[in-house]
Amino acid sequence: MYEFDYQKAASLDDAAKFLAAHDDAKLVAGGMTLIPTLKQRLAKPSDLVDLASIGSLKGIAEEAGGVTIGAMTRHVEVQRSDIVRRVIPALAALAGMIGDPAVRNRGTIGGSIANNDPAADYPAAVVGLGATVVTTKREISGDSFFTGMFETALGQDEIVTTVKFPKPQAAAYQKFKNPASRYAIVGVFVARTGQGVRVAVTGAGPCVFRVPEMEAALARSFSADAIKDIAIPDDGLNSDIHASAEYRAHLVGVMARRAVAACA
């Protein structure tokens, strides 16, 4: 790792002020992606600002018929939460599929979405459920939060505070895991909601994306059969030692059909 200074933020306001004054400072939440990134010298922040002491960023509440999750809430807490398991069981299941137990004991939802790794799981849930990301400055719809590989709509001194998930009628997440890291080679989140069907794909492309053709077909008939003939073009999909773009395109269809079947 390159050298950096470690700062512990006492409050959200402190953290935001520090970020505003230091262009090369970065926030650290659980650090489960950031610290490995730093070890590979892929980033060189001047400072890491730790959000761990800010209690208001932690917790899970049932609100407006859905679930609101604080940004510093860890995956293990979402996985085991009675509220999440009752209201949106697919979200609890997704949290339980992230990394491994030791990673889930540290990693947070806010860190995951703010980092927007192309293979992270939570972006699929945020987009798939049509969630709203609440920050220190505004509310951002899940659809416009993720803007590109490791890129989000967040400004330099803007901090995610909570994520609000509406309750779907039915939802499921299926992923084809990298056997070593457990990151999604392809993960598909399918949700049937009052406003229609949403299909969100992670791992396959540079950034989470929806599949409108599948959503329309599932709105007409919510069955795995309804999407079996929809081919995903492999243009622009990720290709690496784990899977080619063609294979990922194929897996999107397979995982989508499994997710639809799991919704039943």
């Binding site: 950096f4 200074d5 650290v28 489960m32 610290i35 490995p36 730093l38 761990a52 491994d100 137990p101």
Partner: protein
């Protein structure tokens, strides 16, 4: 910039001067000499570095020492009671659950984390819980047997004759 970190390690208060980038595992191994915690992959995947922080398993190669400020860290060195092995350690020995032993400290720390929440885990639950702990010698068969036996011993259940000897 160097900073002072104060924490509890294996029940004792510890203070040390560290850099921002010093990892918890470096503090444990290099400053405190607790070399039972291993570094295998250094990419957060292998689990040889698993320790407990405030009673929960974490990868000490992926935690800054300063993130452990004020917390209580437990390493493999604090699992046995003096010369008496912990039942989970004893079970690893009885079941021949190691060859080179490099992964064993992390395996035992993860096993204890599992058993804390799930005192009677099934084979499948054990295997799933070990997703972040890699063994490259024995395969996982005897490790799973050991964790079952260790969990049984910890909850005071009769320990079944171990499978390793029968095979």
């Amino acid at each position: 910039m160097q900073k002072t970190v104060s924490l509890t390690v294996n029940g004792k208060p510890v203070s040390a001067t560290v850099e921002g980038r010093t990892l918890l595992v470096q503090l444990l191994r290099e400053t405190l000499g607790l070399t039972g915690t291993h570094v295998g992959c250094d990419t957060s995947q292998c689990g040889a570095c698993v320790v407990h922080v405030d009673g929960e398993a974490v990868k000490s190669c992926t935690l800054l020492a300063l993130q452990a400020e004020g917390r209580s860290v437990k390493t493999i060195e604090d699992v046995a009671d003096g010369d008496t092995l912990h039942p989970m350690q004893e079970a690893f020995r009885d079941n021949h659950a190691l060859q080179c032993g490099f992964c064993t400290p992390g395996m035992i720390m993860s096993a204890l984390d599992l058993v804390k929440n799930n005192p009677d885990p099934t084979d499948r639950e054990i295997r799933e819980y070990l997703e972040g702990n890699f063994c490259r010698c024995t395969g996982y068969h005897n490790i799973v047997l050991a964790i079952k036996a260790g969990a049984a011993a910890m909850r005071g259940a009769p320990v079944e004759p171990h499978g390793a000897a029968a095979e």
